[in-house]
Amino acid sequence: MRIAIERRPYDSNLMKYLSPVLAIVLTLISGGLIFMIQGQDPWAGLYTFFILPVSDSYGWSELGVKAAPVLLCAMGLSVCYRANIWNIGAEGQLLMGALIGSWAALSWMDSSSSWVLPAVLACGAIGGLLWALIPAVLKNHFNTNEILTSIMLNYIALNLLLLAVHGPLKDPHGFNFPESALFTDAVTLPIIMEGTRLHLGLILGLFAVATLWVVMARTFLGFQLKVIGLDASAGHFAGYQQRRLVYFSLLLCGALAGLAGISEVTGPIGQLVPSVSPGYGYAAIIVAFLGRLHPVGILLASLLMALVYMGGEMGQIDLGLPLALGSLFQGMLLFYLLACDFLISYRLRIQPSVKPMAFPDTSTGVSQ
């Protein structure tokens, strides 16, 4: 018996939606095996990772807190990926949003005016947008590959952030810790549910889901983005302005990622610190694809990703497992998703082995 791989005549729609589910199942199985290798009961491990974090209402609210930045980044990325623009730079755009936004917050935080918070958020969004402008200009006018430029800019953004918290934005009364001063209430996001840390960022994320759903499904702009993503030469032939669409999608993603960054520092964190993001911008890439680039899928996938973050922390606290296990789960999820996506265009066919055919038809014909 052997397994043959053959191309499907048409891509399987069923597999398109089954593939993420399959990837999640495979990730859970592999996770269980890893727990076993670590000397843990796999069921207890998986329970600690995926059930325990959301076993109370506070856990659910924390899920929203973690999901918010991932959701904002992933929605922006989904627009880029629909247009076949491989922006890997959401992390850097998020960090620049946090940095520029924090600078604005620290400058204006003693004001009691009500416009201060919106202005700070806007600065964060603009910070991310300007950071995304760099790969957009390079792609449009110098024909560079946005994968490389956007990923390199992530590291530059991180180092700029570190420079800022070690230098100009460091709290003068902070005992030389690399942190900014704590933000005042004027520049802190309002809590949307009493007794939790759920903040306005989640509302912004849900707003992005709704708006971009309408834009992509119902407007000519969204249609054009899909066309250049599926078939750039058809878009060019039809007369769509490819450069403008590249600018739109990259800048939109930058702004949303920047908003995610400023929401983190003015929300749950409350000051600018070196570790603003535990890789939200990268996790958002996985979320975008796990959600099949569809707003509802992305919403669900971002909750799952938030759960993985929380599970990683829970595993560290309860089972003494390394925090990196959370990243391992993220990595496995992406790996299995890519592997399962192969089944959208291909299928496996089990062929009977040659041996049972040792008596070919002709010989049986002769014996009769």
């Binding site: 119902r218 249609f223 058809a234 032939f237 039809a238």
Partner: protein, 556 residues
Amino acid sequence: MPASHAAAPGASQPTETQRRSSENTIKSNTVSPDSFRIRCQNITKAYPGVVANDQISLAIRPGEIHALLGENGAGKSTLMKILYGVTAPDAGNIWFDDQPIALKSPAQARRLGIGMVFQHFSLFETLTVVENIALSLDKQQAGNLKNLAKRIETISSHYGMPVDPHRHVHSLSTGERQRVEIIRCLVQDISLLILDEPTSVLTPQEVSNLFKTLKKLATEGCSLLFISHKLQEVKALCDQATVLRQGKIAGTCDPRTTSTEAMASMMVGNQTTLGKRYRFSTGTKKTHCLEICDLTELSSSEFGTTLKEINLSIQPGEILGIAGVAGNGQKELLRFLSGEDLTSSAESIKLKGKNIGQLTPGKRRKLGVAVVPEERLGRGAVPDMSLSENGLLTGFLQNLIARGFLQRGRIHGYANRVIDQFRVKANGHGADAKSLSGGNLQKFIIGREIIQNPELLICASPTWGVDVGAANIIHEALIDLRDKGAAIIVISEDLDELFQISDRIGALCHGNLSPIKPLQHTSINEVGQWMAGVFDTEFQDEQLHSETPVKEYELS
């Protein structure tokens, strides 16, 4: 050789051509098996939706330079891949040195002594010539690099292909890289060399050097299969030619004695079965819809054709046909007209007196220009989108959008109208473009443009690969649009089609545009000569007219 029949006279009667070509097909099928380097019989290979090779038979003697001629999509590449073991045929037999063989892989083909030079080189740019060649050989064959370098030098000087084995490939010119590819085949014992359009990447000087090399190879007994659609080169180089058309053998000839136009006519179609001539234009307005003035532009693609001083004008209410063998500048002309490539000066192209040479495709569309590209999937339509969405693709100016929002009802209605009017066989407006057959998708794309009522329609190969019924629908629609006062340019390789629908006709050859004449004042033979680059046909004109009188084209 049975196929080496008498030369076709320059102005042969169409019936003569047909009789000859059918005779040849039969002959080549029953070729006698006396000492051929390679012989294949009744090779058939079908891909979904198209029979790429239909009962192809071919035989090449030792030392023979055999041309495989045909338009794009005629099946040349498929046949060549079969002979090199890349693709397995569905049916048919191959003999190599009179031994029946089943070619399973290129490696096996190489072991037999078959070498191939692809159109797109497969060399590692960061490695030297000798390293590249060593990579394609077995360990024993390659030996050490020093000896291999010596062998390369010997071969390159013997065949007049100077190449320094220690140079890095990235520093070599295209012509030199091709030499490396050829030498790579020659370091192995080779008895059949297949060359896929080798001259398309070369300068004229490089071409003549290459031909010297190839002729030398042939005199030493190596057989050559030379794939091309450039007739002059085939005439200059080859002893035999097999012409493919639409996957079938259209005929064989001796290119040294056959005129280029006779070969061209074999490539592009059977002239004897001229379809019914549609009605001529009843009158044009005395204004220019489109004017092209001294359009001289480099192609945007690396191996494209440079357009040279193209001048033409077209009036509302006429169809201008542009003939030519593919690769003579048609693609480039269409891209400059559609706006996918912009001209260097805006004045080169004028629409109703307005300079549009530097307007984007979208702006030209707003001015009433509609274009049907030659690629249906991947340019004319997005394969993974529904027909509704593909209608919107270029129909976005047809009141399908309100304040940026898609008007779904109207978009579906628009697609349904195209489907109904042009009898597109599809599973409703929600069917993916890729699920349609080529002909039905072509009807949809043409219909999508025609119901926009453009003032200028530019149409490439409107009925390529389309069945007769669909072709009639498309032709009728083009004629109707013309009668409504639109100017239409049809760029096609199908002379038959052009003589059915054009009011005036010209041809492209090497990026030059022939004179443009009213259809009644020219003949298929004259256009054939234009296609071969002979533009000065005034003298022969009178003779031709006596042979093919205008009244042959029946008016409908």
